[in-house]
């Protein structure tokens, strides 16, 4: 029987600053066996820890198509994540997983894809975005609508520029508060509906961000004709074990860590309202 609670050592190979409180860490497992056997899918997460401090669920933001390493984009939110921000290249993290279900991939081939993200909501989507970019011809139009509080808080600035250059791919950015030489939009993410066509025909939408943003985006998507089953999102819950045991992430009869974190809006609708919290 595998001991699911045992984490494995992974060395930090590079650190990319995303914003004042968010970095992307590229890590490689020290143990070659683990490195080769750690197979994950787009949208899954890992439990990342510093021994002696604690563990937290973090989305794997790298893509399964790019092998040999993992990437985590981590916001310094509390005890552990702030401690991670003090680490340097060459230091180690401890990682176990992968956990949770995944974003659909085969099922969405040939469709137009919308990614609608707020703040730290883009990292979980990035894994799927990059597999799609690696197999671009198998998908229809891709539109990425991304908002953050300020220009500094946008993650993956370089990649956003890169994605924009790919044919049939649009990137729309917005911030609540602009400064400097900001050339894009100002206002909440749903304001971007005025800038570009959001059309439900042969389309699926992936939504990730704070609960309040999800709520308004979903309303807007439904207005635009999207069916509940074509709106796909992640639920965030406080998690401890990641494997359906500790109970912290339960909603209704489901465990977000095992049955989620990816749910369609149709599935969310079946969760009792008072447990839904979006």
């Amino acid at each position: 029987m595998k001991n699911e609670y045992l984490p494995y050592k992974a060395i930090i190979k590079s650190i990319q600053k995303e914003s004042f409180d968010t970095n992307t860490y590229k890590v490689v497992f020290s143990d070659e066996k683990i490195r080769n056997s750690f197979d994950y899918k787009q949208g899954q997460f890992a439990e990342v820890s510093i021994l002696g401090i604690g563990e937290a669920p973090i989305s794997i933001t790298s893509s399964p198509t790019r092998k040999g390493y993992l990437e985590f984009t981590i916001r310094g939110a509390g005890c552990l994540t702030k401690k991670i921000h003090q680490l340097n290249v060459g230091d180690s993290l401890y990682v176990r997983g992968p956990y949770g279900n995944a974003f659909p991939y085969e099922e969405i081939k040939g469709k137009n894809i919308y990614f609608i993200a707020g703040g730290i909501g883009l990292p979980p989507l990035r894994s799927l975005i990059n597999i799609i970019m690696d197999n671009r011809e198998e998908f229809g139009n891709v539109k990425i609508l991304y908002g953050a509080k300020t220009p500094d808080e946008l993650c993956f600035k370089q990649e956003l520029e890169m994605w924009k250059k790919i044919p049939n791919t649009e990137v729309w950015l917005t911030v609540d508060k602009s400064y400097g030489d900001w050339k894009h939009n100002v206002g909440v993410v749903t304001e971007l509906w005025k800038k570009t066509d959001v059309c439900s025909k042969n389309a699926v939408a992936f939504v990730c961000g704070p609960p309040i943003m999800i709520k308004f985006v979903v309303m807007k998507l439904i207005e635009s004709g999207f069916k509940n089953k074509d709106i796909i999102m992640t639920l965030e819950r406080y998690m401890k074990c990641g494997i359906g045991k500790c109970g912290h992430c339960n909603v209704g009869e489901k465990f977000v860590c095992v049955d989620g974190p990816v749910f369609t809006y149709e599935e969310i609708g079946k969760i009792p309202a008072k447990e839904r919290a979006i």
Binding site: M1, Y5, L6, L51, G244, G247, N250, V258
Partner: protein, 360 residues
Amino acid sequence: MRRKGRKIMTLKKISKADVLELLECCAKTWKTYVPLETEGKDILFSLLPTSGSELKEALGKVNLNDERVIISPKDIFFPQLDDMFYFDKDKIKENVEPPAKKLIFGVKPCDAKAINFVDEFFKRNFEDIYYLSRTKDRLIVVIGCITPPRPDACFCTSAKTGPFANDGYDLQLVDIGDEYLVEVGSSEGENFINSYSDFFKDAQEEKLVKAQVVKSQAAKNVKLKVDFQKALEIMKGNKDLEENYKRISERCIYCGGCVYVCPTCTCFNVFDEKKDGNGIRRKNWDACVFEGYTREASGHNPRDKKVQRTARRYEHKLKYDHSVTGSSGCTACGRCLTSCPVEIGMSKFIQEITEDKKGA
């Protein structure tokens, strides 16, 4: 363990006077857990020492009659504090309990039901090695309840979880006066009888009749009756119970006592402790009624209201557990009621939603 009751070739009994001696023998080769009286006269499932005067002294405190076991034997497999692994700067040393033969002697039928329920939980999805390694080579000896140990709170006849077990045990003892008649529930139970054949004597068929009489009288002794089935139906349906939850939430002090004593509650926290570079990652019991239980690092808390946490507790036990496993997560042991400082308990909740006038 085989879950269904089975027929044994010859009927067996054990004299009550021989039970302590049997336990003394077993303690040498089994990790033997029995209800022991503590200094404060509480009764807790405890591990018997293996030999010597310590064993003798412990045997003097065995209490199989008045079994108000405060905490169910769940903590034998799911201890309140569990060291998962130790670490220094660079090395992790896992701390999984090595397999050991365990005898859990004197389990109440409702608690046996709970043990089986929790076993299945820790096997579902991912297997939990810490729990499951402790359940290997385990023998459960149930003693049925002649009188309910918590007379005002036990409601096992309503939930069909007692006062005698139908399955889920290796052996079940039926108190027929000076001796126990032995029911065998598994091949492991049968092997146990054969290994300790000096203690288990052949019994005449008429003892079976006696046992039947004892069982039906025992069922009559359980005075608290609730409409458990109706409660499950209501929980499954669309009836709005917000008012009920609200009333409870106004009185509940959210101490978590009911959760700790509940034989099927399994929630835990994971945390690290560190001293001079060495440390431990541990699990400890947690409770869904605590506000911090669902609070996320952003400060957002999907269950920030008391009434939501009250609803969660009852719906988990009576609705979600039932729809996922086919059995309710309440085994009607009554501990939540007897441990509650403000007299809230599962039986009262059931009375209230089924509109039984005796409700809370």
